[in-house]
Structure formats: C-alpha cells, structure tokens
C-alpha cells in the first residue's frame, strides 16, 4: 500500500442535469455556458473562496467548436473565477474528468496548491462524437482497425468474447433505469444538480431517465450497431449533454476552510487494453488502483462503474467479481446519460457522495475509455 503523504479529499460535487443530445432541454445551450453555471454552483454549494483555487482542470472528449480553444480557461472567465485561477483542458475521452481529479491529486502531492476544481463538459448535441473534422491516419486505420473503431462495435465484440447474452444486457439496462428512476423520485439526485439557465427557461432535472422502461420494450428493440448483434439503443448509454464538477482539496485546506469532505482519494490508476474490446478497460485499471490502495474487491462498499454499454459493464463486473448490489445504486449512464467528458467527475463525485451518505469505508469509481483504456479511483470514507 502506498498511502498519499498529503491526504486529498473530495470536498464538493455537483453536476448539471443530464439531458438527451439533440432533443433534450440543453441541446440549444453552449457547453461552456453549461459548465460555467456548474462551476458557480460548486463554489456556491461548497462555500469555497474561489481566490484560493489553484487551477480549473476540465475534461472534454472533443475539445473543439464551442468547447474548443482552452475551454477550461474560458469557463473560468464565464464563471467569474478570479483571473489568478488557471485553467487547463484535459482529454482522455470518457475518462477525461476523472483524469482531471488524478492530475489535481498528483499536483497537490507535489505541493502545487491545495484546492482544484476538477470538472468535465460535453455537448454531444453541438459537437459531434467524432468532432467536426475527423481525419484518421489512413495506414493506421488499415493496419489496426481497432484504433478508430466505433464504440458500438467494441461493445458487440465484448458481448461476443465474454458471452454476454441479449437477455442479460436487457435485464442490466432495466435495473439501471429502475434504480435511476427510484433515486430521482426519492430526491437522491436533486442535491447534486445545479439548475441551468437556458434561453428557453431553467432546466432543473435529468432528461434521459426513462422510468417507463419495461423488459418487453427492451426486448423488442432492434440491434443498433450490428444487424446480427445483441447491443441495442436500450442497452447503450444515450448521447447526452451535461457538465460536472468536483472540488478536490487537501484535507488540511478543507479543515481550514470549514469544508465538509465527502471522501479521501486513496489511489488511482489507468491501464491500456485492446481497443477492439475497450469496454473491458475497467478490469485492469481497477485491479491496479485497488492494489495501490491495499484493499481487495471484497472491501468495497460502493462501486460506480460507468455504464457505457450493458455488455461491457457485465463483462467487467464478471471479470472483477464485483457485487452487483453495490454498483450504481442511484442508477448508471444507461439511464442517466453519458456526456463523455463530464462522466468521470460525476461517477467519482457520486461514489464519494454515496460513501458519505451511507457511511461506508471504501468506494471504487471506474470506467472504460475509447481506444482501449481503463481508469479507476479508490476513495475512502471520511469517518
């Protein structure tokens, strides 16, 4: 076990409502505007003095167009952060904003500041998933087709390789919808959501969840990526618009400022895998992170596993031997949505929040990443 010398804590977590791309309530709002309102919400809710923030690290999977330039710096301006607060944009596709947390924690271990905003943003309505100018390397695409493979195809590959049945995928998706709908109706999502002002009014709640989902409806869907496959639109996370933000500080800073930390950041890891089965990425990264935290799977109380697809989630759960009861208890991305750059901060913040809410000891937040990677963070409860 390699304990951090300087204890790092998650001192705050908020996000925007997550809404469907193109037809949802945030589709006509610029992503930088959404992110800026989320940052303001984080400052407001955590009662932090923004002048003490070292840097705003913002994850974004397709940092171009309205989320281009150095969007982190621009969002800082829009959110009225003091000019002395820096801003950097980071891209590890779906793991971008979890990577932001890792970078902040690492920097603080080096004594480089005591408080960071680690955020993420993605408007999948306004910036297409391949970006506006996809120009893959022709030779690489031919020699190594997985390098640019569509995510749906990788999910089909995982389903085949790990023998994840259509029925199991449907059941997993239904559970995700049920858990998210229940969390929403019981008010377990309200606290983390910052209302977003748009030209058409205020958006206050999630728009992707489908409480009316039934097993029959899921079973009736056609395959979305392979006519002979098993992955459907119902067992894949929807294209989503949204932003998220966490306040990551040293424990000492939190104490001095009177913040209420949600959890300690105890370890993290990234790993690579075959791009054709990128959905299995969480396995190795989680193993590495748990090993670095000195704990095993059996020690976990809370697990946030990003549901890019039901197939890859189930394959990862099976390989890691995770307890399904502990996973995504407030719903996962299949129901809530997956705005690529914003998901890492959401699931890390959510894991911390559940740990805090339930009083558990250990939490794992992990996700797969396009191109064949995994990323994981281990959190410890604040007693």
């Amino acid at each position: 076990m390699t304990s951090p010398q300087i204890p790092i804590v998650i001192s705050g977590y908020v996000r925007s409502p997550f809404t469907l791309a193109h037809k949802g309530d945030l589709a006509h709002t610029r992503p930088d505007d959404i992110a800026a309102q989320v940052i303001r919400g984080l400052i407001r809710q955590s009662h932090t003095d923004p002048a003490l923030i070292e840097d705003l690290i913002m994850g974004c999977a397709f940092p171009e167009g309205e989320q281009g330039f150095n969007v982190a710096r621009l969002v800082g301006f829009l959110a009225d952060l003091p000019l002395k607060v820096a801003g950097v944009t980071v891209n590890r596709f779906c793991g971008s904003s979890m990577q932001a947390i890792h970078m902040a924690a690492g920097a603080m271990q080096m004594g480089a500041g005591e408080a960071y905003i680690c955020a993420g943003v993605e408007s999948m309505s306004r910036i297409p998933m391949t970006g506006f100018n996809p120009m893959p390397h022709p030779q690489l695409a031919e020699d190594m087709p997985g390098s640019y493979m569509g995510m749906g195809e990788t999910a089909e590959n995982v389903a085949k390789k790990y023998k994840i049945s259509r029925a199991d995928q449907d059941a997993f998706a239904l559970t995700s919808q049920t858990k998210a709908a229940q969390a929403q109706s019981e008010g377990r999502l309200a606290q983390e959501i910052v209302s977003i002002q748009t030209a058409d009014g205020v958006v206050e709640s999630d728009g992707c969840i489908r409480p009316e989902t039934t097993a029959e409806a899921l079973a009736g869907l056609k395959p979305a990526f392979d006519q002979n496959g098993t992955v459907t639109a119902g067992t894949a996370s929807p294209l989503t618009d949204g932003a998220s933000a966490t306040l990551v500080t040293t424990e000492a800073f939190a104490e001095r400022q009177g913040l209420k930390p949600l959890a300690y950041v105890r370890s993290f890891a990234v790993s690579g895998c075959q791009p054709e089965i990128m959905g299995i990425g969480p396995v190795r990264s989680s193993q590495k992170a748990l090993e670095r935290a000195g704990i095993g799977i059996e020690d976990l109380d809370v697990i946030e596993l990003n549901e890019a697809f039901a197939a890859q989630s189930l394959a990862s759960i099976r390989d890691l031997k995770l307890n399904p009861e502990l996973i995504n208890i407030d719903g996962g991305a299949i129901a809530l949505g997956h705005p690529l750059g914003a998901t890492g901060a959401r699931i890390t913040g959510k894991a911390a929040e559940i740990l805090h809410r339930q009083g558990g000891k250990w939490a794992l937040a992990t996700q797969c990443i396009g191109g064949g990677q995994g990323i994981a963070t281990v959190l410890e409860g604040v007693s």
Partner: protein, 775 residues
C-alpha cells in the same frame, strides 16, 4: 389578378376548428410564411393536431420548422383573433353552430378583417343570415380541398353584399401566397367540383353494382381512358374514406331540388353501409374496396371486394378491351365499345358529362371554371368539357338521342362545335351565350403553352426546344420521355449558350410544363455502353455533360432554373449549375445516382462540395463540406419541398420559392431579367479537401452502416468511391483541388463503378421496374 397595391398584406390568420381540414389549412398558411392562430373548442386539440401533423404523410408542412408559426389555443380566449387579418371557420357543417360561432367571433374582428367559411355544402346565403349587416361585406366562402397543401383548387363564393376589395385581398393572397388556383363558384350546393365529383363517384358505384361490373374492371375502364388517376373510382373512395360518403350523399339529397338528376341515382348500395359497419372504411381503416391482406408467411396480397358477395379475392389487374380501345383510338372508342365494360363506361360517363353540361351555367361563370375545378380538385387530366371535345359534342348528342336520353341545352347549343378552340394563336372558349371568347390568364402569369401556340421555337430537336418568351429572355424546354437528359438535351443547352447571345438574348430560363422538371439522365445509355465496355464513350458523355453544364455557369448571360415536381439526378445537377433558381414550392430534388449504382457525374459532387465549402453556416476545417455532401449523396436524399432543398443547399439562400405553379415561369423570367442588369458569371474556386484521411473517416462511417445492415455491400462500394471523389482523391488538405480536378474524379469513379456487375444490375433493374435494386 395582381396583388392590389393599396391592399394591406395578410400577416396573421386565425383558423377556427382543429379537425383534419382546419389544422391542415393552418399548416399550409404556415407554409406561406404567415403567423397562424389555430383554435378549437376542446382544450389541447389544436396543439395535438399540430403534433400529429408533424408525423402525417404526405406532410402538411413544407418544412417541420414551419409548425412553430402556428399558435394553438381554445375558444375560451378569442383575444388572439383581435389582430388577425383573416379568420377561417372550419368547423362542423351545422348552420346553427356556425351562426353561434360567428356571433362569438365577429366582435373580435378588427376593421377590414375578413371572415370566411370552409364549408363544402352550406350556401353562402344561409351562412350570412348569422351575420350582422356590417360584417356581411367581409364574409365569403373559401373552400379548400384535402389535403390543402397539395390540392391546388380553391373554390370561392361571394355575394352582391361582399366588399370587392375584401374579397380580392383574400383571393390575391390565396393565389400568390398559398399557390391556389381560384375558381369562382355560384352559390349552389356543393359548388362545382364536389357537385359533379360526387355525382360521378355515386353513379360509378351504383352502376357497377347494377350492371355486375367488378371493382377492378370499373377502375380500369374509368381511369386511364378518361384521364382519371389510376386509383379510379373505388380506389379514390378508399382514399377519401368510405364513411364520408353517406354524409355527403345525405347532404346532397337534402340540398338539391327534387328534379336534380342526382336523385335518379338512388341510395348508396347496401354493401357500402355494411362495409362501413364492419370497419372497412378505406385506407384509414381495415381496407375498403381494396385491402392489403397479410398472409401467415408475411406475404402482402392486394385483394379486392366482390360487389355482389362482399367477399375479398386477390386482385387480378385486368385490362379490359374497352380500356385498350381508348389507347388506340381515344375515349370515344371506349364509350362505344360493345362489351359490358364499354357499356358501363358509357353509362357512367354519359350521365356525368350530361350532368355537368346541364348544370354548368347554374354553378359557374364558364365551362373552363368547371373543367379547372375537376382537374384541380379531382386530379382529372381533362375536365368534363375537354372530354366532350374529345368525343365530339355532335356524336355525344346523337348518342344520347339514340338512347332516348335528354340532350342538355348547352350541348344542343354547341351544335357540334368544340368548347375550346384556338383562334389567332389564343385559346378561346364557347360561352353560355353560344359565342367564343379568349381565355384570359391571370395578370402576371406566363403560359408556355400559350407561347407555343403563337410562335415557332428558336431551335428544337426531339428532346428539347428553345422558345422566345419575350423581353430578351429565352426558355429551354425539355420534352424527352419523363424529361430525362440525353445528348440531344445537352446539345440544345450548347446551342443556347452559343447562339442566344448572338441573337441579343439577355437570359435563359430552364422550364417545362411537364409533371416533373426532370427525372435525371437517360441511364439506358449507361447500361448499353457499359455492357459493351465502351469506357471511352462513357467518359466522353460524362465530359460532354460536365462541359455543357459548366458553360451555363460561365456563359455571358444568366441562366435561371425553374424546377417543379421531381428534379432528380441529372435534373438536380443542371439546377446546381444554374446561376439562380426560382423553384415551385413542391419541388422534390436530390442527387439520387447511388440508386443506380453510380455517383453524380455531371458536376453534382463538385457543385455540392463547392456550395458547402462556401457556406458560412458550416463548421470550419476541410471535413464539414465533404461530410455534408457525402451524407446528401450517399443517402440519396430527396427534398420533400423547395424549402427542404434549401437545407440541402441545392437551393441557395438567395434562390426563390414560388408557391403558385402557374406563376413559376413568369417569376423565373423576372429573375433572369433582374440578373441580366448586373450579371457576373460563376468564378471557379479552389478547394482544400482532406484527401485520404477524409476518405478513411467516411469509410469508417460506411463500415458502421454495413454492420448495422442499413447499407448493402454495393452501397458500400459506391459510398467508398463517393468518399474518394469528395475527399479530393490523393490530395493533402494544405494543397488545393480545382473544380476541374473534382470533375475528373467524378468521371473516374463512374468508370470504376460502371465496370462492376452490381452497378449494371442496378441500372437494368431501374429501367425494368422503375425501382432501385438493393444489391
């Protein structure tokens, strides 16, 4: 009729009644660009009607975004009427209810606002009884036909109390902005089209039952020989809904004098009522006279009812001799055919034509109004009096007499003369007074048909002609089969380019009077030349077309395209090379070459790339223009209106949309004249295209489509070739590709595809069936 200079514009219209007609009238008003208020007595009915219309096919809206122009509401708040220029009542056909509504509405009408009823049966005189004297001058009947977007007929009824300016204001608006052909009607039951149309339908059904004629046979003998759409009578009833017939027949039974010939037809056959009771209400129900039966193995079988037994049996598509006779020798041969089918056709058409002739002066100002109403309201190719001209009024009168049938006075008065004849190059019409007078086109309408009667073409060949349409503007007309492109059409474009400037012409309009502008290139040549491996010939034809279209862009005078109906493939490519377009709103255009296994090869790829490259609305970088053009061509997208063609950039923002088909040529000519004052030819551009990286990106997308099963293997081959053309071949995005460079890539891609058996199979299948092959 011209737009009255001092008439205030119609900017806001209220439609009361969100039923099918009211809502779709509101949608068409929105198509015309006005703000619409749609009211209904039921809370939420108007909003729900708007949502429903967004999913209806054929679409009531010319663009989904136009739905936002309609504000839904209820009758509880009539304040939204206060600033409306026109209020259209489209509620239940009950006089008491309408009177009650008028009493509610009129206090909210601003001075000068007009109230009209969409009634199809109630007389103007009765409706006006519900109005105060000060509102009567601002009331009229405006009777739309369903569906209002597509049916061009608008029947209007006014009275001696109607303020002429108020009526003209509405008529001008309906003509110019809604694209309607206005037919003024007398205040008689059912006006013109439904009065004759209902008689015709009812007569055809009752005679078929009486004479034991099969449904399919009746439709075959009454459709093509008479110039009626191929749905015939029974197919049309299935389309409009069988359940409407009893209401319409009841309404006429009540409204018409007892001596009206309508009553002699008797009641509707019992079978009709049984079918309605059993849910066979037509296409909207379980089926009608025809139905689509799905067998256990999923096979769809078209079935037809037996009028005697009420049992369904598979349709046979008969071709009776009486119908074939018309093909050889005209309608008269069908009507005099000795067969049972011939006698049936005579009984239906003789009664219908006699009815029309006996009524004409009672219901209309002239017989042309009757003919226009039947052409535009029932899609007849020829109106009753044009049909009478075809069979001859003398022959018809003699035949009636021989059957001991009364001859209408109008037929007797015609005394063998035609109702229409050309005098001094101008079409004249036989009036009710027995004398001929010229047919006057509405002011501002130019008819190519009229021009062609009066002068010889400047040049012509078997596929195209060039006409002088006045003021230094020429008109290029295609008249090949389905207005398809072939070297003869191209040669006439080249002639125009070389010769017209020498003769002092200032501009050229490309227009024709056909049903469709052009369905594309004649692909039979491609099939023959590719089978014979005449690659050099194919390359020559491609280059010839590219050069010809290129001359249109770089020539010394403006070329204005005036499309209408379908403008597909090569028909779309010629539009893309026009300096400007004035399109009829009902223009369905796109580059659909993938359907026959090729990519656009007469500059379509180049021009769409150019337009997206120059578009200020696209994101930056080399890929967005390529992706936009690729999406449009690979998916063979076809616009469902001229407004949608603007989204595709086949029409540019500065190109015009003309709502009234009759005004298309005049508007195109006006545009050519305006452009000729300060004309600058097309400037070729150099494009930064992504090269192999772009092709790779598009190929990845193609692979996804193949995996999903939405693209066939040959779709993939075509799309890959298209990706290569649009990406600029082997270029690098820091270099530039000329328009000529893209044209060469088009030619190379077509040769590559023409060498594949799959492309040849697609072309052959299209030529044989008229449908694309998905191989």
């Amino acid at each position: 009729m011209s737009i009255l200079e001092n008439t205030p514009p119609i900017e806001r219209v209220c439609v009361v009644g969100a039923g099918v007609m009211g809502a779709s009238i509101a949608a068409h008003l929105a198509n015309a660009g006005v703000q619409v208020v749609l009211l209904d007595v039921i809370e939420g009915a108007a909003a729900s009607a708007i949502q429903k219309m967004l999913k209806t096919q054929p679409a009531p809206f010319m663009h989904p975004k136009f739905a936002k122009r309609i504000t839904p509401g209820t009758m509880d708040d009539l304040s939204s009427i206060d600033d409306c220029d026109w209020i259209i009542e489209a509620i239940i056909e009950r006089l008491d209810v309408k009177h009650q509504l008028y009493a509610q509405i009129t206090p909210h009408m601003k001075p000068g606002a007009v109230l009209s009823s969409n009634t199809s049966t109630l007389p103007l005189k009765s409706l006006m009884e519900g109005l105060s004297p000060e509102h009567r001058p601002y009331f009229m009947i405006t009777h739309f036909f369903n569906p209002p977007r597509y049916m061009r007929l608008l029947e209007t009824v006014i009275s001696e109390h109607t303020d002429p300016d108020a009526a003209n204001r509405i008529i001008e608006f309906c003509d110019h902005r809604l694209g309607k052909s206005i037919v003024p009607c007398h205040d008689t039951p059912g006006f013109i089209a439904n009065r004759i149309g209902t008689f015709w339908l009812h007569c055809a059904v009752t005679e078929a039952v009486k004479q034991g004629i099969d449904v399919e046979v009746a439709d075959a003998v009454l459709s093509r020989p008479c110039g009626v759409p191929k749905t015939g009578v029974f197919g049309l009833l299935d389309l409009v809904g069988l359940d409407l017939m009893p209401h319409i027949l009841d309404s006429f039974s009540t409204a018409l004098d007892l001596n009206d010939a309508f009553h002699s037809l008797g009641p509707a056959p019992e079978l009709l009522n049984k079918m309605i009771d059993d849910g066979y209400t037509g296409r909207k129900g379980k089926g009608g006279f025809y139905r689509l039966n799905i067998l256990e193995d999923g096979t769809k079988v078209k079935e037809v009812i037996n009028l005697t037994t009420g049992e369904y049996a598979p349709a046979k598509r008969p071709s009776p001799d009486a119908a074939k006779a018309a093909k050889k020798s005209g309608l008269k041969e069908t009507l005099r055919h000795k067969s049972a089918e011939g006698q049936y056709a005579w009984s239906v058409m003789s009664q219908t034509l006699r009815y029309a002739a006996s009524l004409a002066s009672e219901i209309s100002d002239d017989v042309d109004a009757v003919d226009r109403a039947m052409r535009l309201g029932y899609n007849w190719r020829w109106g009753p009096f044009q049909l009478l001209d075809k069979i001859g009024t003398g022959w018809f009168a003699r035949k009636l007499k021989s059957k001991n049938m009364n001859v209408p006075e109008l037929i007797t008065q015609a005394s063998g003369r035609k109702f229409y004849k050309v005098r001094s190059g101008v079409m004249s019409i036989l009036g009710y007074d027995g004398t001929y007078s010229h047919i006057h086109r509405p002011k501002g309408v130019i008819s190519l048909e009229d021009i062609k009667r009066q002068k010889a073409p400047l040049a012509h060949n078997i596929s195209a002609s060039v006409w002088d349409i006045g003021d230094g503007i020429a008109c290029l007309e295609f008249h090949s089969k389905m207005n398809s492109f072939n070297p003869f059409v191209l040669s006439m474009i080249n002639w125009s380019h070389g010769e017209l400037p020498r003769r002092g012409f200032k501009g050229l309009v490309i227009y024709n009077d056909g049903t469709n502008f052009s369905v594309g290139a004649n692909i039979a040549m491609l099939l023959i030349t590719s089978k014979l491996r005449l690659w050099t010939v194919i390359r020559w034809i491609l280059r010839y077309g590219q050069n010809t279209f290129g001359k249109m862009q770089s020539g010394p005078f403006p070329v204005v395209g005036a499309p209408h109906g379908m403008a597909l493939g090569g028909g779309c490519e010629i539009l893309l090379h026009c300096n400007a377009i004035e399109a009829h709103a009902e223009t369905y255009t796109g580059l659909i070459e993938a359907g026959v296994g090729i990519v656009p090869g007469w500059g379509g790829c180049k021009e769409l790339l150019r337009r997206w490259t120059l578009s200020k609305k696209r994101p930056g970088g080399p890929m967005p223009p390529v992706m936009k053009a690729f999406e449009s061509i690979a998916m063979a997208q076809v616009s469902k209106s001229a407004f949608e063609a603007k989204d595709m950039l086949v029409l540019r923002p500065r190109d015009g949309v003309v709502m009234n088909r009759d005004r298309l040529l005049a508007q195109a000519k006006k545009r050519a004249l305006e452009m000729s004052k300060d004309y600058h030819p097309h400037e070729p551009i150099e494009m930064h295209l992504p090269g192999p990286s772009g092709k790779t990106a598009l190929s990845l997308a193609v692979k996804d489509f193949l995996n999903k099963g939405v693209a066939t293997p040959h779709d993939g081959t075509i799309a890959t070739q298209l990706a290569w053309v649009l990406s600029g071949g082997e270029t690098d995005h820091l270099s530039t590709v000329s328009e000529q460079g893209v044209l060469k890539l088009e030619r190379d891609a077509i040769i590559t595809l023409a060498k594949t058996p799959e492309t040849r199979a697609r072309v052959a299948h299209m030529l044989k069936t008229g449908k694309p092959l998905r191989n």
